[in-house]
């Protein structure tokens, strides 16, 4: 298979480096312009692209009607719509602590969904 060289913008950190990735099929041969995390990102992006996902779930008994939640690690990109559909059905109750697990091993990915903040019980 022919070697391919292409530009990939790294989304690992806010720097947003433009990586020059040379690959042979799904094997990355060389990454220019990136740090160690950039190289890992380039390889991961080719075989199994993943993204951090942040959304919200319904909340009962808190200051607000929603609780912000996030994935502990990057989540498989093609399955994000499935994850969002699932989160839409969830409702939880206060009190909630920061980083509390809202869903464990979501969609059998081994990834947990955590609360992005604490939410105390609001009475009255």
């Amino acid at each position: 298979m022919a070697k391919l060289s292409e530009n990939v913008i790294c989304v690992t950190c806010p720097k947003g480096c433009t990586l020059i990735v040379t690959r042979d099929g799904e094997t990355v041969i060389d990454v220019e312009n990136g740090c160690k995390r950039g190289k890992d990102y380039a390889q991961q992006e080719l075989i199994d692209p993943r993204r951090m996902v942040a959304s919200s779930v319904r909340l009962k008994g808190g200051l607000h009607p929603l609780l912000p939640v996030y994935t502990s690690v990057p989540f498989p990109k093609p399955r994000i719509p499935e994850l969002l559909a699932l989160l839409r059905k969830i409702e939880i109750s206060t009190p909630v602590t920061l980083d509390q697990i809202v869903l464990e091993n979501v969609l059998d990915t081994g990834i947990n969904i955590h609360a992005s903040r604490e939410m105390k019980v609001v009475t009255g």
Partner: protein
């Protein structure tokens, strides 16, 4: 809580800048430290920024906004910072008298030895970018939509056009897509992205949302509700290019067209404002022209990363604590820092070389024109190079920082002014 008559340090605003300033003031020896916040809970705009990307510098972790805020809220309570929530500051005087009001305490005044302004910034509105057309419902700033979608649980529309490629606009494009809306287009009047490149990738490209550079809104169509917008291409001087008009049906137009530091209170106190940043003129300790009044974070200039806002808050809080304990530093000479070649503005506006003896001073700037090639960031004294740093490129959307080090002390001390420039390598 009971309100005291006197405080060592009073911080206005409990966003990341204010929280960091209060924590640093307390940790550096200030006794009574109070944060006044107009919202019913501390944290500021971070609470509605539920996306990831915060804390990469400070915590070496990729956190959502509320998590980042929570860490500092917890620390502030832990070190004994006092909070007055749901309280609006009405006025600050040059001698640090603060007038405020709340439902609980009514109108009251307190006296501070030092004040830290940390009111953050506000979004530019439709009126400020002079968008033509009718005035139907359905034209909102991106941050307002963000608050509704992420905190209050309302969807402001079904089909969106977003004007402006700022980070909040792109992040909202993804967020609205997540919640089932359709984002028809993102329009940007400039020839380049105004937010971070990674947000273009993970918020627009990932969801096939089209971005058109050098395009703007020519007309808003609709009587009671937005029915469509008319987009148009512009030339380098932002003139409409005839024949390029396109009607894009939508029910909502979001504006992500820039942030302006919120300095009404600063002006009332007599703080001088830099017309370029729209924030106070500050020294390296973030003191304004009024002794004992400091400012930190987006109220000074709009940062791209919250991590840098925190850092600015820590410096301002430390400076305020130093003033409270040691009194004003008299007879200290300050040296102006000027924006030179291809630099739109620089912060701090002046620096005290004595501080350089103790620690690095970070000089932050924004480039005037993008350079998509390796550059030098230079600090010059007269025509001579004092210090330079290489960067792979320079973009207006991404702040550039160069640290001055204690090793530069002697040369800086002897200088009448410093100039910063960004030039091609």
């Amino acid at each position: 809580m009971t309100i005291k008559v006197r405080y060592d340090v009073v911080v206005i605003g409990s966003g990341p800048g204010g929280l960091a300033a209060a924590i640093a003031a307390k940790k550096n020896g200030a006794q009574d430290v109070l944060i006044i916040e107009r919202d019913i809970e501390p944290g500021g705009i971070l609470l509605q920024c539920i996306h990831n990307g915060f804390g990469v510098e400070v915590f070496k972790q990729d956190l959502p906004g509320p998590s980042y805020a929570q860490r500092f809220i917890n620390e502030a309570f832990q070190v004994g910072v006092e909070f007055l929530l749901d309280t609006m500051v009405l006025n600050i005087t040059r001698d640090h008298r603060i007038a405020a009001t709340s439902k609980r305490h009514g109108f009251f005044t307190i006296q501070a030895k030092a004040v830290v302004l940390a009111m953050g910034c506000r979004e530019r509105t439709r009126a400020q970018v002079r968008l033509p057309g009718t005035r139907p419902s359905g034209v909102f700033t991106a941050g307002t939509a963000q608050r509704w979608v992420n905190v209050e649980g309302y969807m402001p529309g079904k089909n969106f056009v977003i004007l402006g490629s700022g980070d909040i606009g792109m992040i909202m494009a993804r967020r609205l897509t997540f919640e089932g809306a359709k984002v028809e287009r993102v329009l940007e009047v400039m020839p380049y992205l105004s937010g971070l490149t990674r947000n273009y990738v993970q918020c627009l490209m990932d969801f096939d949302i089209e971005l058109q550079l050098k395009h703007t809104v020519k007309n808003i169509i609709g009587k009671n509700r937005v029915e469509a917008i008319e987009a148009v291409a512009v030339d380098d001087r932002w003139n409409y290019i005839p024949g390029t008009e396109e009607i894009i049906p939508c029910d909502t137009l979001l504006l992500s067209v820039g942030l302006i530091p919120e300095n009404e209170l600063s002006r009332q106190a007599g703080v001088l404002i830099d017309p370029v940043t729209a924030g106070p003129f500050v020294d390296d300790g973030f003191q304004t022209n009024i002794p004992g009044i400091y400012s930190a974070g987006n109220v000074v200039h709009v940062y791209d990363l919250v991590d840098w806002v925190t850092e600015a808050g820590l410096i301002a809080g430390r400076s305020a604590a130093r003033l409270v304990q040691k009194g004003p530093q008299l007879n200290s000479k300050t040296i102006p820092v000027k924006a030179g070649e291809n630099v739109r503005y620089v912060v701090p506006h002046n620096l005290n070389p004595d501080h350089l003896a103790e620690d690095d001073i970070r000089i932050q700037m924004r480039v005037r024109q993008p350079i998509e090639a390796p550059v030098w960031v230079e600090v010059r004294i007269g025509g001579n190079l004092l210090h330079r740093k290489a960067e792979p490129y320079a973009r207006p959307g991404e702040m550039v920082t160069i640290p001055l080090k204690p090793a530069h002390l002697d040369e800086v001390k002897a200088a009448s002014e410093l100039t910063v420039a960004i030039v091609k390598r």
